[in-house]
Structures are given as structure tokens and as C-alpha cells.
Amino acid sequence: MNYEAVIGLEVHVQLKTRSKMFTRVAAGFGLPENTLTDPVVLALPGTLPVMNKGALDKIIKAGLLLGCEIAAVCKWDRKNYFYPDSPKNYQISQYDQPLCRGGCVEIELPGPARNVMGEHKRIALTRIHLEEDVGKLNHVEGASLVDFNRAGTPLMEIVSEPVIRSADEAFAYLTALKTVMIYGGISDCDMEKGQLRCDANISIRPAGTAGLGTKVELKNLNSISFVRDGIAQEIRRQTAVALSGGTIEQETRDYDGQTGLSQSLRSKEMAHDYRYFPDPDLMPVEVDEAWKSAIRATCPELPFDKQRRFMEQYGVPYTITSVLVPDRGLSDFFEETARLCGKPQAAGNWIANDLLRELGAAKIELSQSKVGPAHVAGLVRLVDGGVILSNAAKEVFVDMFRTGEAPEAVVERKGLKAETNLDELERWCAEAIASNPKSVADYKGGKESALNAFKGPVMRAAKGKADPKRVDEMLRRLLAR
């Protein structure tokens, strides 16, 4: 029998705010242990939470970007459990009134080839709610050590419908979601810093049937590749169990990216009973049209919309757009360059190839680059106007990347201007023809390739600064006399 997978993802995204969710001590990553706490974070007696307006703005922005319905009113609930990462013994979350419902994430599946756009699908979302992150436990011999720096960081939980069908789709979903979050300035989504975390609910069923099988929750998928590999492995594991006549247990499994295997976490003796109830310390949130409109005005164009526009408006090929678009800064750089030089395709090539190569080699970010859109646009114009040849342009690019000089200045300094003196070119061509009567006879006798015999001497005379196309034209013209 054939089986198909049904996957739902729960993605936690830390919001990029300056302070925590319910108190104003700073939020941050990588600071010395327990330096980001205050009485609210530590749940000292008598403290009360106060919502972070900035975090609410960001989840609403996420909801609008993903096409969710934003709740007119929502409340906060306490999720009760004892665990040392949470000093209150409850987590403030949203149970039955999330801020966002519905919506979807547009994804792109791998295409038949790298340069061909893959199929696009929309993965439906169930909900997005806001809660607070917990502290970090460090396990040592005989004890656990708690660092509360992360505790109370605004955390968004994005829950998909169980409509993801494969490990590749899950990978595409996370990639697309991450890009949208970064575009919106909602989160930096650095998985190594725990700013984006993913749990997967996976089940299988006989292909073509409608029911849902017993689901297994897979945890610890702490890189996008681990999400893909972990899910693929879990689908294989469940399929093998089913094919051998076994039963799939409802359980939580821990994925180990190093070994590529998962193991069952000790099964809970009973299901979680979080005893959710409304938090009496926090008043509800009411979102009106004015608030939504103000946020909508700050929403960027979605990445896939931008990619389609780049292809249509500028005629830039898919491969180039798929390099430019995921990075908002790079796509802005491209649009500015295209505007300045009016040659979007050339601009796209320089940015996607040369600029990225140099940035990578120098190990710096785009924001640190000495080369701006005006530099690249200037270079495109120099090549387009025939002032320099493309080989020389490559050299100019490397130089201006290093020094930040204008391309014209580099051309001047290094004497890279192409030979455009037609009189001189004509003289070199005439000399080459005069000194090689045999090739002249061959050419005139119909041997096209004989033309090449003249080109070497001309290029040597021009010290490589002659445009091969012009040399070709000039030789033909002179030989036709």
C-alpha cells in the first residue's frame, strides 16, 4: 500500500522588540546570564505585567502580511505548568482568542531545474497568537542551571493547518515564512539564536484517503535543513511501521540532526493539563480599523509579489530574481541601480554575480559595502556606452568594491578606456591586412575563418583595448573594398 504524509507545523518566532512582552527590561541574545531580568521576569511577589505595544504592532503586521483575519478583541490566558524555565509557574499566552486567524503562506516548491521556477502553493494557517518565551536551562552534572535572559521575550506562535504534504513543502514553507518575517522587520528569524523554532506534527495515511492517522510530534528541529531531514526521516519511519503491520504510537520524538535519527521522549503518564484561564492581570486588546490601517501602511510588498514584478516589469530572469528578492536590502539596491542606469538586466547581473561574489569574499554585509547603486549604475553605463569593454569592467568592479571609487575614476586611473579612435583602429586593421596577403586571398575565396588571422595583430596593436566586435566590423569593411 502507498502512504501519504500529513504535516502541520508549529513555528515559534521571537519578535524583534527592544523590551520584553510584559515588562520593559531589554530583550536580547548573547548577553551574560541573568543580565536581562527584572522583578516581573523573575515573578517576584507583587509584580504585574504591562503589555508591549510594539509587540502588538508586530504581530498585527505579521497577520496582515499573511492575510489573516485580525481579531477585533482578544484576551490573555494563563497556561499553567511547573517547570523551572518559567518562574511564574504559568506562561501568559492566548488560548481561545488568538490575535490572528486564518491566512496563508505562499511557498515555492523546487523547480525541475535551478533556473526554472517551481510550483507555487498556498499553505493555510490556523492561527497566530502571542505569548512570552521562557528561560533557558543548562544541564550540568547533577543539576540544571537557569538563565532568565530569554524569559518574557515576545514570542509569536504560527500554527499551520495540517496541509503540508512532504518534507520539501515543509522546507519551502519555513523558508517563505522566514523571508516574510524578515521583510516585515518582524523578526530576524535566526534559528541559531532560537529566534525561529519549529515543531512538526506528522502522520501518514493510505494515499488518497481523507482521514488523519495518529500524529507524532517531532521536536528539536533547530535548522531549516533539520526540519526537512527530520520530517523525511519520520515519514520513512512511520511508513516502515505501517508496512510491517505495526501501530504508530502517539508520542513526542526528539530529532537529532547529527545522527539523522529521532528517539521517543519518555511518554507522559498523562496528557498535559494546562488549566488555561483568563489572566486577571491583563486587560483585553481591542484592534480597530485605524490601528490596522496604520500598520498596513508600513507593510512591504511580499517577496513573491516582488519577484513576479521584477520578472515582468524589468524582464530580469528567474534565476537572478531568486537571488535578489529574498534579501530585501539587495532587492532595494537592485531597483535603485536599475532606476539610475535604465538597464535592469545588466544591473541584475552585476549585483547577483559580481557584487555578491565580492561581498562573500570580503565576508561583509551589503550594508557595509563601499559600492552603492550609483557605482553599479555608472559601470553599466560605461559598458553600455562602449567606453570600456566587459573584461575591463570586471576589473573596474573589483577595484571600486575595494576602494569605493567611482567607476569613471577607476577607468581613468588604470587607463582602461576602450579604443574608440576609429582612425587608429582603421590603421591597425589596414596594416594587418597589408601584411598578410595569403589570408586576404583565402577570405576573398570564401574562407570565412581566415578573418581571424587579422584579429590577433590588431588586438596586439590595441593592447587588448579594442572591442572585438568593432574590429570584426572594421576588417570586413576594409576587405570588402
Partner: protein, 96 residues
């Protein structure tokens, strides 16, 4: 009032991390039963036409702007810790 039949005392004790003797179960079961009876009086209130709410006051959107303020020093943060190590709180080993 005896302990109600549907009171899952063992479950509640477990959630609260309490281990109760048979005698305590008997006593607390009875007391919890009394409390539930008392709270059940609320069921007699006519709430027809009253919209469910989590709060009695019509106050919404109580918040602060996202501007950080100074927090506690590590020393102050750990002041109440029964045991500390490497500027962290020491707790019994937990592994999920």
C-alpha cells in the same frame, strides 16, 4: 459534605505536585467538595443576555511603548536564589 464522585483528587494533587496521604485525601476531598458547592451558587444567577467576559471593567489596551528601562543587576537577580552557579539559578536536574 462528602467528596463528589467526579472530583479527580489524585490528578489535581499530581498537577499541584502534592503527595497526599489517604487521610489527607479524605479531608481535602471533603473541603474541595464544600468549595465547589459554594461556588456552584453562581449557577443560580440569571445571566441571560449577558455577554461572556473575562473582566468586569470595560477597559482595553493598557500598554506601554516598547522602550527599554534598566533591569536588575545579576547580583540582585540572584539574591533570593537558594543556590547559584555561574550567575545562574541552580535547580534539581530536569530533563524532558
Amino acid at each position: 459534605m462528602p467528596q463528589p464522585n467526579d472530583l479527580k483528587l489524585d490528578h489535581i494533587a499530581n498537577l499541584a505536585r502534592l503527595s497526599l496521604t489517604a487521610e489527607e485525601k479524605e479531608r481535602f476531598g471533603r473541603q474541595l467538595g464544600d468549595m465547589l458547592d459554594y461556588v456552584a451558587l453562581l449557577n443560580e444567577v440569571d445571566v441571560e443576555g449577558v455577554e461572556p467576559t473575562a473582566h468586569a471593567f470595560p477597559v482595553v489596551n493598557v500598554w506601554a511603548q516598547d522602550v527599554p528601562e534598566p533591569g536588575l543587576s545579576v547580583e540582585d537577580a540572584l539574591r533570593n536564589a537558594p543556590e547559584r552557579r555561574d550567575n545562574m539559578f541552580v535547580v534539581p536536574k530536569v530533563v524532558e
